[in-house]
């Protein structure tokens, strides 16, 4: 810690922007972890000291990340804002999360949501720090536009607002005492989607879990193997042993989901317990599989974890969802007591969507204006464009049903959850499953 601070101070004194930025990033990562721990302790023990420490670390994390991004921007020149590859995009997304979260907490006084939002920020920071290529990359011509700044900045903050809305929606449903089996069904379903999407179906088709290779390009840039052959396949290699483990995870997730669905058809009772136990088993297996994947992939000479950001992000997100359900089940009463009233959570989620929706609209609008400048068409039904439109329509439905039909509560919050799943698909899934024009965001 002391060494880190000295490095920052000397970097600032000597005017070296890039290394100082990296040191500030590390400081921010540490602060995020500390803040997460603080909020988790607050969630468990309800000590105000823990919250104060967590909040302080959150502010520090946000401030140092702001500094890191600003210095990176300075190091690259004005035309080149710090969000042009996957590493920078993730870091900027985290920045959006922490800014939105701090504003939400200060304005609306909900301390407890930090325990749910900050782990997600930590996850994204972790993924970003795995990236092998943290150098500032020159921009390809299509990205050299002022619209890049607005488009990506707005997307990061908008997605962060939707993430906040999602957390409030989940907490609402929990507080509203929605049956545990519902959470289990959704989490297990998401695990199935994540395993299939992260392997692009290979787990089921070939019994393998492949990862993209990193190859050194002739000019020395490390990058993900680009679609090479005539079929447009990525160059990939199977991670030894990961295939059967992933298949087992998939199978257990299917069993868990089936158990949850079966439980829902009967009155609350023993079946729910079975579903919950299956979830716990799923959590253990998923943790083991994930650890195995990280361990083995790290040993493979030509595969870098960071060449697979979308796969990893999806898997870790699935892991977090399952963890959330496990926590919900085993700490049910404590959590129920700690949360604000259900209608307060409902309103907070609504307010977050009211921030996210105009921003999402602005993302689409700036994207259209930019596409019209660069490619001569404002809209081309590119998969990323289509996915963002679908996301927008889901949140439109959320607002519409609230404003005209007067939907609040469960149905409304369910839409917010579906909306965020669509955000995940837009941000991660599209780049994994469909090829398109936003491919430059996937470079390692």
């Amino acid at each position: 810690m002391g060494a880190l601070l000295r490095e920052i101070a000397s970097g600032l004194a000597s005017g070296q922007a890039a290394p100082t930025s990296a040191a500030l990033f590390d400081l921010s990562f540490l602060a995020f972890i500390a803040a997460t721990i603080g909020y988790l302790i607050y969630l468990g023990a309800r000590r105000d000291t823990a919250w104060r420490a967590g909040f302080g670390c959150g502010v520090l994390a946000g401030a140092s990340l702001t500094g890191a991004l600003a210095l990176r921007w300075i190091a690259a020149g004005w035309s080149h804002p710090p969000f042009t590859n996957m590493y920078e995009s993730l870091v900027f997304f985290v920045w959006g999360i922490i800014v939105v979260y701090l504003v939400v907490e200060v304005r609306w006084r909900v301390k407890i949501a930090g325990a749910f939002v900050l782990p997600l920020a930590c996850l994204a920071m972790g993924l970003a720090s795995l990236s092998p290529n943290k150098e500032i990359e020159p921009l390809v011509p299509a990205l050299q536009s002022v619209w890049l700044h607005i488009h990506v900045a707005v997307a990061s903050i908008g997605y962060a607002a939707f993430l906040t809305a999602f957390v409030f929606a989940v907490l609402f449903l929990f507080k509203d005492k929605v049956r545990m089996a519902w959470f289990v069904a959704v989490a297990a379903g998401f695990v199935m989607f994540a395993v299939l999407a992260a392997s692009r179906g290979a787990v089921l088709l070939d019994g393998e879990f492949p990862m993209d290779k990193t190859v050194a390009s002739p000019d020395g840039w490390m990058k993900v193997a680009l679609p090479g052959g005539a079929e447009g396949q990525y160059e990939k290699t199977a991670v030894p042993g990961a295939g059967p483990l992933m298949l087992a995870t998939l199978f257990l997730a299917a069993v868990t989901a089936a158990a949850a669905v079966a439980a829902l058809r009967r009155p609350e009772g023993g079946v729910d317990k079975f579903a919950a136990q299956a979830t716990f088993a799923l959590f253990v297996l998923l943790t083991f599989t994930g650890a195995w994947l990280l361990f083995r992939a790290a040993q493979m000479p030509d595969t870098r974890l960071a060449a697979n950001p979308y796969s990893l992000a999806l898997l870790v997100l699935a892991w977090l969802f399952v963890l959330l359900v496990v926590v919900f089940h085993w700490r049910r009463d404590e959590l129920l007591a700690a949360l604000p009233a259900a209608d307060a959570l409902d309103r907070l989620g609504y307010k977050a969507v009211m921030v996210g929706f105009p921003l999402m609209t602005l993302v689409i609008v700036t994207g259209a204006v930019w596409a019209n400048k660069a490619w001569g068409r404002p809209w081309g039904w590119d998969p990323k464009e289509t996915a963002s439109l679908v996301t927008w329509i889901i949140y439109l439905l959320y607002l519409h049903t609230r404003l005209t039909v007067g939907w609040t509560g469960r149905r409304s919050n369910l839409i917010a959850i579906v909306g965020f799943l669509s955000v995940i698909f837009t941000y991660l899934g599209v780049n994994l499953l469909l090829s398109g024009l936003h491919a430059y965001a996937s470079g390692g």
Partner: protein, 437 residues
Amino acid sequence: MPSEKAENKGDFVEELLDWLASLRLTVFTMIFLGLAVLLGTIVPQIDISLPRQALAEKMADPVWRLMSRSGLLDVFHSVWFLFLVALLMVNLAACTIRTVRRTRRLVAATSEILDDETETKAGLTTRVRATAASLGALERRFAAIGPVQRTEKNGAVHLFAQNSPLFRYGVVIVHCSLLFVLAGALVRALVGVEGQIALPEGGSVNVFAAKNDELMRLPFDVRCEKFAMEMYPGTQRPKEYRSTLSVWQDGKKIDEQTIRVNHPLSVGAFHFYQASYGEDEFPVLRLTGPGLTTELPVVAQQVQSIPGRRDGFIVDQARREAETLEVHVLLTAGGDQYDAWLREKGPAQNLGPYAVSFVGVRQGYYTGVMVTADPGVRLLYIGFGVFFVGLFLAFYTSHKRVWARIAGGEATLAVSASRNREAAKAWLDETAAAAKG
């Protein structure tokens, strides 16, 4: 009985409007649009730059023909997709008309005195003891909302104020903006054109092949004066590529600009975008005709135009005959077609009014330029702007109406707000406190 007939007709119009504005129609349209978009994303869509010949070959396959005819290979331009978009527009428009009428009725029916009915409908009411200072205090509070109207009736003093009823129209304005956006999309799909041209340095063109190989004519000639590209030092990453294009009309240069990615050139209704580039060998032809001598590097298989004329030609084949390169030129002039094989550095041949010779082959870059004309984009941008105005009104403003009645030492206050009931309640509480003195 004419009056009854008119009423029936009114009923019919009302019913039709109700049906068109119905949520059921919205859901129906959206589901089908969703399915269409899904199809368009999953089924590989036809490449608009596919040459006519390749298209014809594929059309021989009956399955392919059926898919093509039904619009499956070009979902987003198919008749039924555009019909669904139009249906959504009608639905949105009908819904908007209905909302506007309802809102206008509601605003017009606002009572300026606080009678019992108004009090029940207002939603938020409170009563406080009134003093001599109450009236003045209330008038000041009301004036902050809008112009205060004071009425005296049956010994009671009534106050009324409201802010702009426009604040009630946020959602309506958002709907209108979506109509603009959809209209822009329809206009683009129906009358917009786009196509690709490849221009070697020194090449000139006034036609381009749009969708389905249909030839579109430009009212001017575009010439590529210069193409240049730059890599980032020490890498294979392109930093910039740019083409200097000049625009000619009636033999005079009317414009010259350098285009880059993100920086297109606009001439009248047409826009030229830097899309791609490449390297190739180009046959150079010399054309001599009445009042014209020009040398043009040409791109094989692409329709070429003769600068300043409506005549055009295409180099469609090349062959080597006894070590000498020969190209086949197909030329259209004044509605007649001519063709000839031209030998490299060989004699000129007469093709209609032109004498054409094959000067040689030049190696070099060509610039890939995308041409579009899209009157819909303006509607789209208007829609974007209007959307945010509407969203601001819908999210952050509220049409507030406030009433007060002072009679017999008691003040009754009532508030009605189109949104944000909590803020309205807070205002009411503060006003009640102010009225108490």
